[in-house]
Amino acid sequence: MTTDELHPRPSEPQGIELPAPSSSPFTCAFGVTLIAAGLVTQWIVTIIGAMIMLIGAIGWFKEVHPDDREETIPFEEGPAAITARNQKVLRLMQGTRHRQRVPAEIHPYSAGLWGGIIAGIVMAVVATIGSLIEHGSLWYACNLLSATILIGVESQTAEQLAQFNSTSLIVAITIQVVMSIFIGLIYGAVLPMIPRFQLLFAAAFVPLLWTGLTWATISVINPTLQANIDWLWFIGAQITFGLVAGWWIIHTEKIDTMQNWSYLERTGMESPGIPSQGGEES
């Protein structure tokens, strides 16, 4: 008699136990559906459905009582060994300029403010020259701009739009000032983040994008207004604004941002040996 026969080793598991297949859920669900279907067809369908559901429910109960009916699934061929396809792991290094465009220097807010105001004035001049050439009037463009707020102005005839109107003038100046300052400030904030061709961005890309958006949507929003706009002069005025505002801002002296400061400087701590803002050692 061998040792193994005297002390048999516990057998290796031949497989893994899982719940055995069962048609009871199918039967039960079919019965439930027939019960419902009988409500809209014939009552006998409901009766048959109830019986089928009962058969399914009893079958289901027997499968889980007193213990779950299970089957043993024999082991299959295992998965392949896990290996890395590429052992080299690259890491994003801190402090490198990996695709980052954090402006270390920016233009002061005043650059955007003044750039916007000056560009707004030049733009108004260009638009007025356009009205003078196209309609023989100083007020056409001004009246049209006020029509974005004033109800009914947009439906006036070209002759009426060429007339002076004090309300329109006040509204148009207000719109022009507010929008010019707003866009100027945005230019001041955005231009330092553009890596190259800042003037092209300011004088061509943004004005053309804005003109395209306006042209595409104004026919839906205000078709009467659209019919009165001279689009060539519109584009010319937009480009003028972008050119002047962009040129002004780009040529303004830049100031450092907090990105250049040390952590201690940013937290506002003061101690000997730490340079204060501006580089002087305190």
Binding site: S22, E63, P74
Partner: protein, 559 residues
């Protein structure tokens, strides 16, 4: 205990000794989560074809003014069945099917917690869908003809009352959807229990894959949102058959009550459908960017926040109803609020892409399609959250364009991403990359061509659900473009169908881990054995397979 000696059997091969009946019996009697997952997805895709055909019929009818392809009654049935099918018989089963298949594999479990309940849930959905479509033959319409439901997918009261909806078509809608709804609740219970109790050793909640987190929140939403719909449907049955007056405005009932109950289900339902889309791309984008997901804890927090806030935005579907300004303002605020966690997700996916070594394979293309289109759908959603704007375009084609950008551009694109990504695991065969790219680009063009112009026709005042229109409205060009887009989509679906069928028999062998991925489902064979893993794995990080591939640089050092 019975021990069965079974030869290895995969999804695309069948035992040559088994008869067809015994092969079918294996599927009908199965409680294996993977087979049920495949059955869910396959059935969902079949319903997708049916729902797509219904949409194509509608687009044909609307391609030009005064077309006579279908009459007004049939058109009503078409948009009702299209909407109902796509939400309840396509979106729901596919999301439940994918979760069924993947959740146990991703958490290192052998099956769901209640395998037989899982089978019961699937069959309820399946028979519920059949019952709904049986209405074409069984429901007695006004003139005694067979008639499908025609009350719209949200079945507004009092149109659904017996006075206005004769015959049984509305009853079929109630019963079919109700039965399917019970199936969804069963699967929701199963998913929650499985995720909470059956995770493998080492997998704490914050080490679960994002997919599992999203499906967990999704299942909770199913549990909260489905019962009000079922309750409302039972109340409607009482109205129709037993003379109750819950929604009967002439009998003292309230049509607004139906809208509240329906949309208390209906808006979380949108998130029930879109959270799985988030789940798929949250797995695919990191793998195809070769980077770990950016901001995992914040992604989890955003998921929970979306789940929570989504329960409090339903009134934005009712802005045009005439509720008080205070109510409208509150729900406008909550609707805008949900853009915050959704935006967090969007930024985190972009941050994951940022600086990554991106592989533009088909799953990634569909994921990127999802990102762009879902973003557009989200932005128009914010526009619609503004009450005055909503008043202008309510029930117009603008709304149709918006929700298709969310549910088609978002959900359906992510479903295709998931199919291309996980099908090699399911069948052991790769889908063709070339055909996949054809599929993507045709669908991308077709989708945008169909649904982009709808925003314009909606802004021009075209109401939804009209079966034709006069030629002088300026809508013809936009409708024609929309209809031409459908042709591209049909071509795309043909490419996809051929690709799937071809790969089942002739596809390249996938191997266990064709994408060099990191979650547990890629650790086992393709297709996985019935028991999933020979031994239950132990994990130490959110990317267990990465740890095994890179023992010198495991993730748990950094998490």
């Amino acid at each position: 205990m019975t021990i069965l000696e079974k030869p290895k059997q995969t999804l695309h091969t069948k035992d040559p000794n088994a008869s067809f009946l015994s092969y079918m019996h294996q599927w009908i009697a199965t409680s294996d989560h993977k087979k049920l997952g495949v059955m869910y997805v396959t059935t969902g895709l079949l319903f997708f074809l049916i729902g797509g055909l219904e949409a194509a019929m509608m687009r044909w009818q609307l391609a030009w003014s005064g077309m006579d392809v279908v009459g007004p009654e049939e058109f009503n049935r078409l948009f009702t069945m299209h909407g109902t099918t796509m939400v309840f018989l396509v979106g729901m089963p596919i999301l439940l099917g994918v979760a069924n298949y993947l959740v146990p594999l991703m958490i290192g479990a052998r099956d769901l917690a209640f395998p037989r309940l899982n089978a019961f849930g699937f069959w309820l959905f399946f028979f519920g869908g059949l019952l709904l479509y049986f209405s074409y033959f069984g429901a007695q319409g006004l003139y005694g003809m067979g008639s499908a439901p025609d009350v719209g997918w949200f079945a507004y009261a009092p149109l659904t009352e017996r006075t206005f909806s004769r015959g049984h078509s509305t009853d079929y809608w109630i019963l079919g959807i109700g039965i399917s709804g019970f199936g969804s609740i069963a699967t929701g219970i199963n998913l929650i229990t499985t995720i909470l109790t059956m995770r493998c050793p080492g997998m704490s909640l914050m080490k679960m894959p994002l997919f599992v987190w999203l499906m967990f929140i999704d299942a909770i939403l199913i549990m909260i949102a489905m019962p009000p719909l079922t309750a409302a449907q039972i109340m409607l049955l009482f109205d129709r058959w037993l003379g109750a007056h819950f929604f009967d405005t002439q009998g003292g009932g309230s049509a607004v009550l139906w809208q509240n109950l329906f949309w208390f289900f209906g808006h979380p339902e949108v998130y029930i459908l879109i959270l799985p889309a988030f789940a798929y791309v949250s797995e695919i984008i990191p793998v195809f960017s070769r980077k770990v997901i950016f901001g995992y804890p914040l992604m989890v927090a955003a998921t929970i926040a979306i789940g929570f806030i989504s329960l409090g935005v339903w009134v934005h579907h009712m802005f045009a109803l005439g509720l008080s300004p205070m109510v409208n303002a509150i729900f406008m605020g909550s609707t805008m609020l949900i853009a915050v966690p959704t935006g967090i997700k969007m930024f985190n996916w972009i941050a994951t892409l940022y600086g990554g070594r991106i592989r533009f394979q088909t799953p990634m293309l569909f994921s990127l399609g999802f990102l762009t289109q879902f973003l557009l759908g989200g932005l128009t959603g914010i526009m619609l959250a503004v009450v005055p704007f909503d008043w202008q375009v309510s029930d117009s084609y603008f709304v149709v364009g918006h929700f298709h950008y969310v549910l088609f551009g978002g959900l359906v694109f992510s479903i295709f991403a998931a199919i291309y990504y996980w099908m090699p695991k399911v069948t052991g065969r790769m889908l063709s990359e070339t055909l996949g790219k054809w599929h993507f680009w045709l669908l991308f063009i077709g989708f945008n061509l169909t649904f982009g112009p709808m925003h314009v026709s909606g802004m021009l005042g075209m109401p939804r659900r009209i079966y034709t229109y006069h030629p002088d409205r300026g809508w013809e060009l936009w409708n024609l473009l929309s209809s031409i887009g459908v042709l591209f989509q049909i071509a795309a679906i043909l490419f996809f169908t051929y690709n799937v069928l071809n790969s089942l028999f002739k596809g390249k062998k996938a191997g266990d881990d064709p994408w060099d991925a990191w979650t547990l489902e890629w650790e086992t064979t393709s297709p996985p054995p019935e028991y999933n893993f020979p031994e239950i794995p132990t994990v130490h990080s959110r990317r267990p397979l990465w740890d095994k591939k890179h023992p010198e640089d495991p993730d748990w050092k950094y998490e």
